[in-house]
């Protein structure tokens, strides 16, 4: 890891200010992605601004029909939160299936969403539950947030403060995990959300996407049988040593069917 300057801040304003006045700063949240990336020298920021002390963006609250989760809330906290478990059990179990206990004790929802790994779990929840991403300057709809592989709508220095999830009437998340890392080879969130049926797929393509044909089929008949006949094209899907594009396309159907049955 190349040398950098470390700064600890206590508020969102101070974090944004510190990042703005540095050469090439990065926020560090749980560090579970950023530090390994820096060790590999794939990232070499001049400054790390540690959000660990920014208590205003930590924690979970129920706000009307929404569960609002602060960006610095760890995966373990989401998984064990009574509010999340009772309002959106699918989200709690998604968080509980990320990596391993030590990753969950450090890794945060804000870091995961900002990082936009194509195989990460949370993007399926942000899109599949129709969430809203709150930043230090605006709100961004979940459907608009992820723009490409590791790319988001966030601007330079923009900081995620919280993510609010509208409580669905039903939802379930099913993933086919990579046996080593637990990242999703394919993960599907299915929900009966306030704005209709949502089917969001992570792991299969360069970024999370909605499966429109399945959403249409489920709208009139919310059963696993209703999507059995839906063809998923392998065009543009990821292919790597873990799974080819055809296999991923097949898994989208299987995972979506299981998620609907689990709803």
């Amino acid at each position: 890891m190349y040398a950098f300057k470390y700064t600890q801040v206590g508020s969102v304003d101070d974090a944004v200010k510190a990042a703005g006045s540095a050469d090439d700063a990065k926020y560090v949240a749980g560090g579970m992605t950023l530090l390994p990336t820096m060790k590999q020298r794939l990232a070499s920021p001049s400054d790390l601004i540690d959000l660990g002390g920014v208590s205003q963006i930590k924690g979970i609250r129920k706000d009307g029909n929404n569960i609002v989760i602060g960006a610095m809330t760890t995966h373990a906290e989401v998984a064990s939160s009574p509010d999340v478990r009772s309002a959106i059990p699918a989200l709690a179990s998604l968080a509980d299936g990320i990596g391993d206990p030590q990753v969950r004790n450090r890794g945060t929802i804000g870091g995961s969403v900002a990082n936009a790994d194509p195989a990460a779990d949370y993007p399926a929840a942000v899109v599949g539950l129709g969430a809203t991403v709150h930043t230090n300057k605006r709100t961004i709809g979940g459907d608009q947030f992820f723009t490409d592989m590791f790319e988001t709508a966030l601007e330079e220095g923009e900081l995620i403060t919280a993510i609010s999830f509208p409580i669905p009437s039903k939802a379930a998340y099913t993933k086919f995990p990579n046996p080593a890392s637990r990242y999703a080879i394919v993960g599907v969130m299915v929900a009966q959300a306030a704005d209709g049926v949502r089917v969001a797929v992570t792991g299969a393509g360069p970024k999370v996407f909605r499966q429109g044909d399945m959403e249409a089929a489920l709208k009139s008949n919310f059963t696993a049988d209703a999507i059995k006949g839906v063809k998923v094209s392998a065009d543009g899907l990821n292919a790597d040593i873990h799974a080819g594009a055809d296999y991923r396309a097949h898994l989208v159907g299987v995972m979506a069917g299981r998620a609907v049955s689990a709803c």
């Binding site: 470390y6 560090g31 390994p36 060790k39 391993d100 206990p101 030590q102 004790n105 450090r106």
Partner: protein, 157 residues
């Protein structure tokens, strides 16, 4: 940049001048000479470096020493009571839970975190909990047996 970092390790306040980029595991091993915490992979996967920071198990190869400034840290060296092994350590010895022993400090620290929130885990829960701890000698069955026995001994059963 060099900074002075102090923290409480196994009940004792310690400090050292380190670089901003110094990892917690390096601070423990090289500055504090607590070499029981191991580095197996350095890529956040193997769990040989697991210690507790403010009561929670974390991978010390993926946390900066400065991030643990002022924290309560416990390592494998703080687990035994003098010459008397902790029941979880004793269980690893009794159940042949280690072969070369390289992964053992991380296994024990991880197990102690599990038992804190789940004093009577099922075998499945132990196996799921060990997702982040790899044993290159592949002695998983006896590690699981050890943890179940250690948890039982800790419950006083």
């Amino acid at each position: 940049m060099t900074v002075n970092v102090s923290m409480n390790v196994n009940g004792k306040t310690v400090s050292a001048d380190v670089e901003d980029r110094t990892l917690l595991v390096t601070y423990l091993r090289e500055n504090q000479r607590l070499t029981g915490t191991h580095v197996g992979c350095d890529t956040s996967q193997c769990g040989a470096c697991v210690v507790h920071v403010n009561g929670k198990s974390i991978k010390s190869c993926t946390m900066l020493a400065v991030q643990a400034a002022g924290a309560e840290v416990s390592t494998i060296e703080g687990v035994a009571n003098g010459d008397e092994l902790h029941p979880m350590q004793e269980a690893f010895r009794d159940n042949h839970g280690l072969q070369c022993g390289f992964c053992t400090p991380g296994m024990v620290m991880s197990a102690l975190d599990l038992v804190k929130t789940n004093p009577d885990p099922s075998e499945t829960e132990v196996r799921e909990w060990l997702e982040g701890n790899l044993c290159r000698c592949t002695g998983y069955h006896n590690i699981v047996k050890s943890i179940l026995a250690g948890a039982k001994a800790m419950r006083g059963a």
